[in-house]
Each structure stands twice: as C-alpha cells, then as structure tokens.
Amino acid sequence: MKLASLVGMVRLSLARDRRGTLSSAFGIAVGVGALVFFVGLGLGVGRVVRERVFPVDARLVEVVPPRVSLGALLGGGRLDQETVDRLARLPGVERVFRKMAVRVPAVSRYDGDFFGARLRMGVELVAVGVDPGLVEGDVSVGAFADSGPGQPIPAVAAHRLLELYNKSFAPVRKLPQLSARMVSGFIFPVEFNRSYVTSSASGPVTRAQVQLVGVSDRGLLAGVTIPLATAVRLNREAGVEDSLFSGATLQARDPSEVPRLVAAARGMGLEVDDQERRMAENAGAAVALTTSALALLSLLICVLAAVNIAHALSAAVRARARDIGVLRAVGASRADVRSLVLAEAGALGLIGGAVGTVAAVGLSVLVDWASGRYLPEFPFKPDSYFAFPVAVVLGGVVLGVVAAVAGALGPARRAAGTDPARVLAG
C-alpha cells in the first residue's frame, strides 16, 4: 500500500469519528505529558543540585590525615611534603593541591559602609590556604599569591556562601544583594589570635586585611580560601605547626580513576573526605528516585491510554467490519488492513504525544514564571526547575506513537483476520 494512500485513508478515518479520535489522543497526551513534565522536572532539579547545591567536581578527591592517628604512632598517616610527593606519583593523578588551615583563631569585625548599607557585626573567620592552582581560574581581581606581611591577604569565597548570604542573610538584615563581580575587590579587616568561641587564643593579636579576589566552587564553604604560602607564613608567625598539611586535593586524570585513587590514599593510612560527594550522591539519588516514581506513574497512564486505544479500536474494527470487507473486495490484502489500523493508531499517538509534550513544556514555563513571580527567594532558587533535552522531547512523541501502536496490535490483527466473504454476504 502506498504511503500517500495510507495517509489519506487514515486522515479520512480519523475525521470520520472526531470524538473517538479526540478521546483516544487525549489519553495518550495525558500520559506523555505527565512523563515529559516529570522527567523534565527531575532533570532540571537534578541539574540545580549538581551544579549549584553540591557542585562536586567528579575528578577531585579530598585527602585528609586520619583523625585518630594510629598511623602517626607507627610513622604513617602524616600529611607532610613527602606524603604529598607520594600522592603526586600515584598513577592517574594529574595534580595535587596542598591545603593548610590557618591554625590560629581569627575574627572579622566590620563596622562601616557595606555596599551602600551600614553594617556592624563580628564573625569568627575560618581560613584555609591552598595551592593557587586550585582556585586560580576563578580569580578576577589581582593575583592569588602571598603578598607578604602588611599587605591585604587575597582570598576566595564560595559561590554557595554568596548564595546563602543573598537568599537567607541579606533579606533578614536588609542588606543589599551581591553578585560575584560586586564582592570581588571587597576588603575587610581580620584579627588573628582572637576568638569568640575558644578561649585558647594565645599570644598577641595581629591585625591584617583580607581582600576578596574571586568567588569559586572550590572555595571553603564556611570561610575564606587563601594562598598556601600565606597560611604557612601566618602559622609560622604565630609559632604553630607549619609543615604538616591539613589536606590535599587530588585531581584525577579522569573521573574513572577516582575509586582507585581513593583506595590508594586509604592504603597510605590517609582518610578521604567524601562527605560532599556522598551528600551530592544522596541528593542526586533522591531526585532520581522521585523522578523515577513519577515517571513510572506516567508510564502507567500511557499503558492505560494504550488499553483505551485498544478498546476504542476494537470497537471500531467491529463496527466497521463491513467496510473492511469492502476494502478487501477492492484489493486490500491482510497486510494492507493491518497497516491501516496500525497507521491510524500511530497517527493518534503522534497527535497525542506531540500535544502532551507541548503541554508539558508549556506547563513548565508557567511553573517557572509563577515561581519567579510568587515564590519568595530561597537559597539556590533556580530560574528554571526544568530541563528538556531533545531526547526527552523526541522520546515523549515516540512514546506516544509506541503506546498507541502497541494498543492497536490486537485490533489490527483482528481487522486483518476479517473474513470478507462473511461480512459482505447478503
């Protein structure tokens, strides 16, 4: 049977029973629409979690010395330069970034103009020094290197800290919203050897200034990230430990190397801090699980739609047995009749799938708009909760066709089996 004839006859047949066509296509549209909507939502929320809430770089491994150092007693598990060199020689390691915490307490007391508002507050400040390569790419003002005593200390803040400030802190304190570009260059005072939380501060208080030079996903979440050399200098000046590192970030050549590196680091008596990674994985898994459940529900709707189409087509095939006999009499083969029924279902599925997909995308636009317009600001609030890759959009339409055609298999077989001699008799 020619395609043009097939298309023409299917069009006529669908037009003949408009109400049946609409109700069959509607079922498909609901199922496909729900599926595309929920999968798009899951992908969109998953992306927010992955890229903004837990921006884990899949190639990075955080190595820390063991907390209770049994290894230290035996001479292992210390994170000194020699250990760092050994880590750097592990196969699969591309780079190692050393980290050293500033081991004296510090506070920042601010009193003055803060981006046009007045701010007066004091906070405990945590700082960690890193090999500049780790955050260099995110530095936008000046250089990320030790500037020597008396000079402002360059520091990088975490994107997420800025997000929390903007969405939670600033609105409550009526402080201005800040962007990464705005805070770069901002200078604030810091006092070392002073603390609000511990009384173990010893030695004289020294004052310095910190200048934010960039915002990074690799920055310490609750504190500032400064050049390693600066941390070493501050520790040495304060007379505390300045040769053991508080951590090292391994950058693997490839994410697939990560499990091997984790095992190797543990084998060296070190611990691997995979808390962030695990949280990211858990959050990702929760989103994936919810999405799967909703997708399954939507698939169920598609199955019901297919059953509905099977019923509708069965009835149509029965009601039109005589017409099928006529087609057979003028030269339709069994295969032609089967093709006609399947093509009719395919057209229903195509219409339903396309309408459902368009409706889902439209609804997502509406939801995003409503969220932007009516929901209050909250940390990590995204511009869009949805992601519709081409595969999802095409998949929706294809699913509609597949569901409808699957529902039509039985009726198509029965239609092809119609005995023309019997239905045309009389």
Binding site: V326, R328, A329, L424, A425
Partner: protein
C-alpha cells in the same frame, strides 16, 4: 476466463458438523460471455462467487480465473487479482458511507501502486460518466438513490478495467424500473467486451444473459434441464 473443476465447499456449523454447499461443481465461462446463475436461497450462489472472485480461499478443487490458479496465489496475490482483474458488485452496494461517490469509485487505486492522484480522479470521473452519474461525483451515498448507489458500486467495480465482473443479485435491492436500468447497463458493458457472471432472481437479467445456469445440489446445470 473462468475454468473451475470439482469445486467443493462446506461450512462448519456451531455443533461441529459440516454443511456441504458446493459438491464437485464445474464451470467454464469464456472471455466476453454473459452468464447468469440462478437457484433457490441458500443453495450456495454467493459462496460460488466469493470463491471465484478470490474472496474465499477455503475450498477444494481447481479454479482458474483470469489465467491463474487460485490455490497458487497467496493472500497478496489474491488481493492483486481482486484489485486488477475482478470487479465485484453486491446486492447491498457496500459503499463506504463517509466517502463521496468519486472517492468510493477510486478506492481500488489506494491498494495498487501506479495511480497518480490526478490519473485516479480522471479515471473515476470517466467511469462515473460511463454509468450515467455525471455531476454527482461529490455526493456521499446517503445523498444518492438506491439505483444511483448501485451505479456507483458498478463504477467502482469498473475502475481498474477488470476483465471480469462478478455480481451478486445486483438488482435485488432495487425496484423493477430502477433494476431495469441497471440490467440495461450490464447489457451495454457486455457489448463493450466485459465478461459478466451474475447471480440473479430477475427474469429480465436472465433474458439479458447469453447462458443461464441453475445451482442445485451443489452443482450447476444448464437452465431447462435438471
């Protein structure tokens, strides 16, 4: 045109027994012949037409129609035979109600390659003109009289220029006068060279045929003898 020998046909009843309808029937119809088959209701006339027209494969015996042995054809082959070589006309017209006269007539083209849409329409108009329905191409069957519907059905049977027309009581649903018009149409088609095999009760149709056969006891007998 038709050479059938030893045709046997039986239907299975609900209770498992068989009703024998045709019992070793022989029939020869020459090219261009006009043959009428008569017989009482239920004697198997429709069954015979369905077998010879390739609508029913479930029979025994050998039947050559338009040059091919029917049992040698598969479903696709039989469909092509019906599409190209045999035209059917039924008692109750069997038009598709949602299609216009023109679309009904062009239906065979949908199952055959090589019919350009423009050629299809031209041909359909031409056969509708041949059966006297010029100007009614756009009407659906509901807006045609019984006689006109049967003319549309005849036009559809003629569409693919078949060699053989099989008609099952084509005037059975029509009044005397309308039926007479249809019979006249068959006569004229026959004059044009078409082979016609018609099942009928109508005396006028009998009179129009060159040969009348009576179906009795599952076999055909020349009318007048028994």
């Amino acid at each position: 045109m038709i050479a059938a020998h030893g045709i046997r046909k039986s239907y299975r009843e609900g209770n498992g027994s068989h009703v024998r309808v045709l019992e070793g029937l022989d029939l020869e119809v020459a090219l261009g012949e006009f043959v009428a088959v008569v017989g009482p209701s239920g004697c198997g006339k429709s069954s015979l037409l369905h077998i010879l027209g390739g609508l029913d494969r479930d029979f025994e015996g050998r039947a050559h129609v338009a040059g091919t042995e029917l049992h040698a054809l598969d479903d696709a082959g039989l469909s092509r035979l019906r599409n190209e070589k045999v035209g059917f006309v039924f008692q109750s017209f069997h038009l598709l109600p949602h299609l216009t006269a023109l679309e009904n007539v062009a239906l065979p083209a949908q199952f055959s390659p090589g019919w350009e849409p423009r050629v299809q329409e031209e041909r359909a108009r031409k056969v509708l003109q041949r059966v006297g329905l010029e100007g009614k191409e756009g009407r659906t069957p509901a807006r045609l009289s019984g006689g006109e519907r049967q003319r549309v059905a005849i036009a559809r049977a003629l569409f693919a220029q078949p060699q053989l027309l099989m008609c099952d009581e084509p005037t059975g649903n029509l009044d005397q006068e309308t039926g007479a018009g249809i019979i006249e149409l068959f006569r004229s088609l026959h004059r044009d060279g078409l082979t016609v095999l018609v099942v009928t009760h109508e005396d006028q149709m009998r009179a129009a045929a060159q040969r009348v056969l009576r179906l009795q006891g599952g076999r055909l007998h020349p009318e007048g003898q028994s």
